[in-house]
Symmetry: C2
């Protein structure tokens, strides 16, 4: 059995980010930037007014001065002249400040009377003017590669005048559930069988991480069916199987795919829930074999598949982030396997996180996996802890998993 | 000017959740559940083995006992007989425990020899058996309405045997940017004009919140063009405009749409960045008019549009959640408008959040909006605060906005 960190490191080492593709800006939300976005223009492009009011020469703008209004320049309709002494130009927020002017008089500090305006608040040079380039200048790097684009990024890329964006292609992940005993929801269930939940839970997780899931038909415990998988994974970035990863008599995956070019780096990982996890390569395609148990499969997916998808997708890849919490109830000492306890989160009086493990942690309990807000991490041989002790937790809620 | 909370309350009061639609389970990730999901079967369906090993009668399982192996029952291939005294049945994880048996002997505690097996660890009744229904029983509510479905929920719904899920229809949101001075990215920019960033930033935000954005062509400051909007919003759940919401001379939205049935509940909101925000109804369609300034538009969208989308989408709707942080740098006293300062977040030595406002908060600086991790909330008339003081922040990073 190898430690969790070593297993993760070996999985990540075998993967590379997908190449870039071009998508329209309108489709770029949630995608991972593959090349720097640089400003194609200067913003603001020229000195513009920050308010509605009048452009004038500050030297003319003494209290009570009366200026001649020579025109109006709505935003998008700049006035091309040069403002002379004694003149004012009606402006609005975003209007270009004309040549000759060096300040803006607020509309509420001005009294308009026909073609003239009276200054009711003495002008100061530079007031209410946004200087050309104060947000960004042409050539500035606005966003660097490796960032998942949010709504604000999309706005900034638009402002930088980019209709197209280079992003990492979504990682394509084939998902294969195996086992004679499982059936898809709504399909007839074999005697003693159960409904397969892994394929669609894993597909949703792939989607949550920005990937594209291809759900293969369930493979029965049959060598020929498993061998046919090889043709289905052509062009995929990753094959994820569930079930068949341990070495029991009915775990044929390794054997069947071995005959079709599977190179296995097989592990027993020192963790719970989990343990049997297969890692290797099927021809050109990297492979992660998750346990068939739905809870074990999801926990292993969070620990190994989510970082793998991050690396494939062009994001920084590492262990799922943990945050500190205090125990809501005592925990017994741990054995030699790292444990990942399903837990609920609450807040204490000071706003601190409290993590309380479900009393029953049996890996057959999928419902508590769905109800969990977090996983409490317990290192191998961790000592017993009293309520209130500090523990690291993976916040499933905050990670959107 | 009315307070932020009152404005949000009035916007939310005017909206109702969208009706339910049926989507395939494979498309249900990220959708909001519209009806309870109840278990259509019991899980496990019968008593099953938690391990690989042998089913037997505990009474027969003394240390050193030798039992006759009557067959094998792989998962999905149950053995239909009744186990008699002195008999054992080979089982695997998930195999149905046969009638007559009441315990499972681990494979590693058994010595197999042809048709017989020797007990190397005394058996205990009930060991390694998962009881029928210990995860859930038919009819149990697995997930309640009003939850955005994550990957674990999808797994649980699958396990409950549902191929279809009733979810709230995605809110349809029409987005209209107005102004003579703006152009779409890549299009020719008018003299003195700028590239429009609001439409696509808002569309991305709608998408981030689970909605479907329909981006309308930019409307020039022209009555006829604005009036044509009315026909474009038929069947939408919400119209969001940017620009034209204040009462300046070139803000025609209110006037033009007024002639086509706009009922306006117009506000100046006591906030910054922001202030001019229009709320009303254009015929059957609810409307929020955001400011034209990109930073103000995004901040108002986070404070008002995100909760509106939550309510439309069937989620609990409230103010964006805040978390406590300590100031990384002092802040001056605030005036009568609630302020929302763009800030970066870091961690102090104890893992506590530190929020540091950007020195320049001018609402023309879209780049700092994209760089911000959080908004520091400053109430109207909030006093000056020293570095280290506690403030509430909206974590933009954690909200995925």
């Amino acid at each position: 059995m190898i430690p969790v960190e070593e297993a993760r490191g070996r999985i990540l080492a075998a993967l590379s980010p997908t190449p870039a593709e071009i998508v329209p800006l309108a489709e770029a939300w949630g995608r991972v930037l593959a090349a720097p976005v640089t400003a194609r223009l200067t913003q603001p492009p020229r000195d513009v007014s920050a308010m509605d009011g009048y452009a004038l020469r500050a030297a003319d703008g003494g209290l009570g001065a009366r200026l001649r209004v020579v025109g109006a320049a709505p935003a998008g309709h700049p006035w091309d002249g040069t403002l002379a002494a004694g003149e004012a130009l009606r402006l609005f927020t975003g209007s270009v400040v004309p040549a000759g002017a060096d300040t803006v008089l607020l509309q509420e500090d001005a009294a308009r009377d026909g073609d003239s305006v009276t200054v009711n608040e003495a002008a100061t040079p530079g007031r209410h003017i946004r200087r050309a380039g104060q947000d960004f200048a042409v050539g500035d790097v606005l966003i660097s590669p490796g960032k998942r684009l949010n709504a604000r990024d999309i706005g900034l890329i638009a402002a930088g005048n980019h209709p197209w964006v280079a992003v990492h292609r979504r990682p394509r992940v084939a998902i294969l559930a195996t086992g004679d005993e499982i059936a898809l929801p709504g399909d007839p269930i074999p005697p003693g069988g159960i409904v397969s939940s892994n394929s669609h839970a894993l597909a949703a997780l792939v989607r949550a991480c920005g990937g594209e899931a291809v759900v293969l038909p369930i493979a029965p415990d049959d060598r020929a069916a498993l061998m046919a998988t090889v043709d289905a994974v052509h062009g995929m970035d990753l094959l994820v199987t569930s079930g068949g990863a341990s070495v029991g008599e009915h775990d044929l995956v390794q054997e069947a795919l071995g005959a079709r070019g599977l190179v296995v780096d097989f592990w027993q990982i020192a963790m719970r829930p989990g343990k049997p996890l297969m890692h290797g390569r099927l021809g050109e395609v990297a492979m992660i074999g998750l346990p068939g148990n739905p809870v074990s499969s999801l926990v292993c997916a969070i620990l190994f598949l989510v970082p793998a998808l991050a690396k494939l997708g062009g994001l920084p890849a590492s262990a799922p982030p943990t945050v500190p919490a205090r125990l809501g109830a005592a925990l017994a000492a741990n054995d030699r396997r790292a444990d990942h306890l399903r837990a609920t989160l609450s807040l204490d009086g000071d706003g601190g996180l409290v993590a309380t493990a479900f009393a029953r942690q049996d890996s057959s309990l999928l419902r508590t996996m769905a109800q969990a807000d977090a996983l409490i991490l317990r290192a191998p041989h961790a000592p017993a802890l009293a309520a209130g002790a500090a523990v690291p937790v993976i916040r499933l809620d905050a990670l959107g998993l």
